[in-house]
C-alpha cells in the first residue's frame, strides 16, 4: 500500500468540506472488521477443537464466555482451560516440549 500522498488529503480536512472542489467527497465511513485470536494454528492441540470456539468441555457446560486463550513463550497457543489441566501433569508445551511459560493471555 502506498502512503505517500496521505498527507495531501487529510492535512486540511475542514477546508475540504467547505470548498468541495472535487465531485465526490467522502462524508462518512462505517468500517466492519473481524477479530480473531492471533494464532498460527486455529486448533488447540490438547482438545483438538478450534481456538476460535470454546473448548469442548466449556461447550458441554454451556460456558461460552469464559474460555480464553494463552500463548507460551514458544508462541504456541491453547485454550486456557485445556492448558491449565495439562500443566498439572507436565509443565511443558505439548507441541514443542519446551518448558511452559505463559507469554500472554488473550483478552
Amino acid at each position: 500500500m502506498s502512503t505517500q500522498s496521505t498527507n495531501n488529503n487529510t492535512n486540511n480536512p475542514t477546508s475540504d468540506v467547505v470548498t468541495s472542489s472535487v465531485p465526490f467527497t467522502l462524508k462518512r465511513w462505517n468500517l466492519v472488521g473481524i477479530w480473531s485470536w492471533d494464532v498460527a494454528h486455529d486448533v488447540c492441540a490438547i482438545c483438538r477443537t478450534a481456538l476460535s470456539e470454546s473448548c469442548l468441555r466449556c461447550q458441554a457446560a454451556s460456558n461460552l464466555q469464559e474460555c480464553i486463550i494463552v500463548w507460551g513463550t514458544c508462541n504456541h497457543s491453547f485454550h486456557n482451560c485445556c492448558m491449565s489441566q495439562w500443566v498439572k501433569q507436565r509443565a511443558q508445551c505439548p507441541l514443542c516440549q519446551t518448558d511452559w511459560v505463559i507469554n500472554r493471555i488473550g483478552q
Binding site: T14, V22, P23, W29, I34, W37, E53
Partner: protein, 759 residues
C-alpha cells in the same frame, strides 16, 4: 309408664295390643294415622316385653312380628298378582305404603333393635359367624332390624315371584314412552326404584337385584329397539340426516333414563344406544368423513365428533383424516405460491391456515387436544416438506426472511406492538420447524446485515424476538445472536474511546476536547469490530484492495489504538461489508449517497480524472477484475457514471455524469455484495453440517460427563432427546461424532456397546 322397672308380662295379652298398632303402622295409608299417645304407649310395651321378668319376650316378639309381616306381604301379593291391568299401579301403591310403614316400624321397635338384634349380631360376629357369605339353610337366617326384615319380606314374598311379570310390564311401558305414547311416569319410576330401595339396608351388592332383574333385560330391550331403529333410519336418511336424527334419539333416551332409572344406569343405556346407533354403523360414518372434511360441512362434522367421541371406536379416524386434509391443502397452497414476496406469502399462508383450523377445531371439535395435535402434525409436515431434491426445506430461510422484513427499517410504518404481534405469530411457525438450526443460520445472517447497516427497526423488537427464540430453544441457540448485539454495543463504546484517543494524538491544545471525528480526521469514521465466530461472515483471504489515501491514516490510527487495548487479537477488515456516505457536489445540488466501500473507492478515483478506463481503475484500487466490473456497472446503473454497459472491456472509457438528477437528495444504492449467489446456500449447508457435528459432540460430552458410563443405545437416545429442539440428528451422524470423541480421547469404548467418559 311411671316406672321403667322390668316386670312380669303376659306375652299373648300384650302382643295382641301391640299387633293392632303394628298393623295400622305398616299400612298407615289404609287405616289412618296412629295417634301419638298410643304410639308412646306401644313403644314402652315393646320395652317391657323385651325386659320382662323372669324371661325376656324379645325373641318371641321378633318371631311374631316377622310372621305378621310375612302374612301381610302374602295378602298384598295376592292382590297385586290378581290385578291385571293395574298391576304396576297397585304394586306401587302398596310398596309406597309398606316402605313408609317399615321405616316407622323400625322406629317403634327401637328398643328391640338396639338391645336384642344388635347384641345378637355382635355375639354372632364374636363367634366368627360370617353373615354375608352364609347360604347354609341349616343355620337360621341372621337377625336383622325390624325395618330391614320388613323389606326382606317384601323381596322374598312379592318381588321374587312377580318380578318377571313386573319387568315385562315395565319394558312395555318404556317402549310405549319411546314411541311417544302416554305413560304414568311416577308409577314406572316407583316400581323400578323399589328394586333399589328394597335393598337399601344391604351392605354388599345393593344394586344386585336391580341390575339382574331389571337393568339387564332393559339394556337388552334397548339394544334391540335401537338396532331396529338405526337400520330403519339409515334406510331412508343419508349420513348427515342420520347423524342429526340419532343425536335427537340419544338425547331423548338420556332424558328417558333420567325420568325412570337409577343414576347408575344412565351411562349404560347411553353406551348401548351409541353401540347400536353409532358403532354398528361406523362404516357409514367412515365413508362419509373425508367427504365432509373436504366440503367443510362443519355442522355434520361436529355431529360426527359428538357421536364418535364417547364410543370405544373414538375419533382416531377423524383426527387422521383431518390431519391428511390440512397437510394436503397446505402443500397445495404452499406449492402454488409465487411472486416477489415469497417469504411473506409463505408465512402468511401458513398462519392463515393455522388460524383457520384452530378455529375449526375450537368450533367443531370442542378444542379436543387430539385434533389440536393433528393440526400441529399437519403444519409440521407442510413446513418441513422437502422441495425437489434439495436437502433443506425452504421454510427456515423463508421464515427468517419474513422476520427480517419485519425487523428491517422499511417504508411500511408499523407500530411496535404490530411488529411484536407479527413476530409472535412467526414463532408459531418456527415451532414446527425440524431444522431450527437452519433458521438460526439464516436469521443470524440477516441480523448481521441489519446491525452492520444500521437497518434495525428497533433494538427492543430485535431483543423481543431473540428472547422468544431463547424460550423455545434455549440459551445456546441464541448465544451467537446475543453476542452479536453485545459486539455492536462494545463497538459503540470502542468508537467513543477511539475518538478520545484521536483527540489526544492529533492535538495538544485543550480546545480539541470538543472536536468531532470529522474535524479531526476529515470524515465521520465509525468502526464495528466483531468477534469472528459469532458472526456469519466469511473472511476474504487475499485482499489486495488499495484504500483511498484519505482513509489510510484513520485506519492506521485505529489499528494502533486497538493493538494497545487488546492483546493476542488480529483484525481483518471486511470492506465488502463496510459502507460509506459520499456527497456529490458537481451537480445541480448536493446529493448524499450511501454505498459500498468498493463503490466509494471507484468514485473517488474520478476526483482526479474526469474519465478513466477500467484498466486504470483496476490499477488504482487493485480489486479482482470480476468484482470491479460489478462495482462499476452498479455505478453506471445508478447513473453516477457513464459508460457502455453492454460491452464493458478493459479499455472501456468511463466518465462522470455531470447531468445526474434525482428527486431525493439522500439515499442509498444497493451494496453489490448483498446480492447473494446461489452457491451461498450450499456453503451454508456445509457450515450447518459442521455446526451440527460440533454441537452433537458437545451434547455427547455433556451427557457422558454426567453419566460416566453409558450403553450405546441409551447414549443415542439421550442425544436425540437433547438435540431435537434444534434439529433431528441422524443415527449415522451421532455415531460419527462418538467416533470423533473416542479419537480425541474424551470417550473410550469399554465393551462393544458401552462407552465411558475420560475425565
Amino acid at each position: 309408664m311411671s316406672s321403667l322397672k322390668p316386670k312380669e308380662i303376659d306375652f299373648n295379652e300384650q302382643w295382641s295390643i301391640v299387633l293392632g298398632t303394628v298393623r295400622s303402622v305398616i299400612s298407615m295409608g289404609r287405616f289412618g294415622q296412629t295417634d301419638r299417645a298410643i304410639w308412646q304407649e306401644r313403644f314402652f310395651d315393646i320395652y317391657y316385653l323385651c325386659v320382662a321378668t323372669p324371661d325376656s319376650h324379645a325373641e318371641r316378639l321378633y318371631e311374631e312380628t316377622k310372621k305378621f309381616l310375612e302374612d301381610h306381604c302374602k295378602s298384598m301379593k295376592k292382590d297385586i298378582a290378581e290385578s291385571d291391568q293395574n298391576m304396576l299401579s297397585i304394586y306401587v301403591k302398596y310398596w309406597t305404603e309398606y316402605k313408609t310403614g317399615s321405616d316407622w316400624l323400625n322406629t317403634l321397635y327401637a328398643y328391640l333393635n338396639t338391645h336384642y338384634v344388635k347384641k345378637r349380631q355382635a355375639n354372632d360376629m364374636d363367634t366368627n359367624y360370617q353373615p354375608f357369605e352364609c347360604n347354609n339353610d341349616t343355620i337360621d337366617p341372621p337377625l336383622v332390624e325390624i325395618g330391614e326384615m320388613a323389606l326382606d319380606c317384601w323381596t322374598k314374598i312379592i318381588i321374587e315371584p312377580l318380578k318377571d311379570r313386573l319387568v315385562k310390564l315395565l319394558l312395555e311401558q318404556i317402549h310405549l314412552d319411546r314411541i311417544c305414547e302416554c305413560v304414568n311416569q311416577t308409577t314406572i319410576k316407583g316400581v323400578i326404584m323399589s328394586f333399589v330401595d328394597v335393598c337399601q339396608h344391604r351392605k354388599l351388592n345393593i344394586l344386585e337385584l336391580y341390575e339382574k332383574s331389571f337393568e339387564s333385560p332393559l339394556l337388552q330391550a334397548t339394544g334391540e329397539y335401537y338396532r331396529e331403529e338405526g337400520n330403519r333410519c339409515l334406510a331412508k336418511l343419508d349420513c348427515i340426516q342420520y347423524m342429526r336424527k340419532i343425536l335427537l334419539l340419544i338425547d331423548d333416551e338420556e332424558f328417558r333414563s333420567r325420568k325412570f332409572l337409577n343414576p347408575t344406569s344412565y351411562s349404560k343405556v347411553y353406551n348401548e344406544c351409541l353401540q347400536r346407533l353409532v358403532c354398528d354403523h361406523f362404516d357409514t360414518f367412515k365413508s362419509e368423513c373425508n367427504e365432509l372434511i373436504i366440503k367443510e360441512d362443519l355442522d355434520a362434522l361436529r355431529n360426527m365428533y359428538k357421536l364418535l367421541k364417547p364410543t370405544h371406536i373414538g375419533i382416531n379416524y377423524m383426527v387422521e383424516k383431518l390431519q391428511d386434509n390440512i397437510a394436503r391443502i397446505g402443500h397445495e397452497k404452499v406449492q402454488s405460491l409465487k411472486g416477489e414476496n415469497l417469504s411473506t406469502l409463505f408465512v402468511e399462508t401458513l398462519l392463515e391456515l393455522h388460524t383457520k383450523y384452530m378455529n375449526v377445531i375450537k368450533e367443531t371439535y370442542a378444542n379436543d387436544p387430539e385434533f389440536v395435535s393433528s393440526l400441529d402434525k399437519a403444519c409440521a409436515t407442510i413446513v418441513n416438506m422437502k422441495y425437489g431434491n434439495r436437502l433443506s426445506a425452504k421454510a427456515p430461510e423463508l421464515l427468517a426472511h419474513y422476520c427480517d422484513s419485519l425487523l428491517r427499517k422499511s417504508s411500511k410504518a408499523a407500530t411496535d406492538s404490530e411488529i411484536e404481534e407479527k413476530l409472535l405469530s412467526s414463532i408459531t411457525i418456527f415451532k414446527y420447524l425440524d431444522d431450527k438450526d437452519y433458521f438460526q443460520r439464516f436469521y443470524q445472517k440477516m441480523l448481521a446485515r441489519r446491525l452492520i447497516n444500521q437497518q434495525s427497526i428497533s433494538i427492543d423488537a430485535e431483543e423481543f424476538m431473540v428472547t422468544k427464540l431463547k424460550q423455545i430453544c434455549g440459551y445456546e441457540f441464541t448465544g451467537k445472536l446475543a453476542r452479536m448485539f453485545q459486539d455492536i454495543k462494545v463497538s459503540d463504546d470502542l468508537n467513543i474511546k477511539f475518538l478520545e484517543y484521536v483527540r489526544s494524538e492529533l492535538s495538544s491544545s485543550s480546545s480539541s476536547q470538543n472536536q468531532t471525528m470529522t474535524n479531526l480526521l476529515g470524515l465521520d469514521f465509525n468502526i464495528y469490530v466483531l468477534q469472528q465466530n459469532s458472526w456469519p461472515v466469511a473472511q476474504t483471504i487475499t485482499n489486495t484492495f488499495i484504500l483511498p489515501h484519505l482513509l489510510e491514516k484513520p485506519l492506521h490510527m485505529f489499528e494502533a489504538f486497538y493493538g494497545k487495548k487488546y492483546s493476542g487479537r488480529k483484525l481483518c477488515w471486511m470492506y465488502n461489508l463496510s459502507n460509506a456516505e459520499i456527497r456529490m457536489t458537481h451537480l445541480d445540488r448536493s446529493y448524499f449517497v450511501t454505498m459500498g466501500t468498493y463503490q466509494m473507492a471507484v468514485l473517488l478515483q474520478f476526483n482526479d480524472h474526469q474519465q478513466l478506463t477500467l484498466t486504470e481503475i483496476e490499477e488504482a484500487i487493485k480489486i479482482n477484475i470480476k468484482e470491479l466490473e460489478k462495482q462499476v456497472l452498479s455505478l453506471i446503473d445508478a447513473k453516477f457514471l457513464i459508460g457502455n454497459t453492454s460491452e464493458l472491456t478493459m479499455n472501456s472509457v468511463i466518465s462522470i455524469n455531470f447531468d445526474y438528477k434525482s428527486k431525493r437528495t439522500k439515499f442509498k444504492i444497493p451494496l453489490i455484495s448483498q446480492k447473494e449467489a446461489n452457491h451461498d446456500s450450499e456453503s451454508s449447508q456445509k457450515a450447518i453440517e459442521e455446526d451440527r457435528k460440533f454441537y452433537l459432540q458437545a451434547v455427547i460430552v455433556r451427557i457422558m460427563k454426567a453419566r460416566k458410563v453409558l450403553k450405546h443405545n441409551s447414549l443415542i437416545e439421550e442425544v436425540i432427546t437433547q438435540s431435537k429442539q434444534r434439529f433431528l440428528p441422524s443415527i449415522h451422524i451421532i455415531k460419527k461424532c462418538i467416533e470423533i470423541l473416542i479419537d480425541k480421547q474424551y470417550l473410550e469404548r469399554r465393551t462393544n456397546d458401552e462407552y465411558s467418559y475420560i475425565a
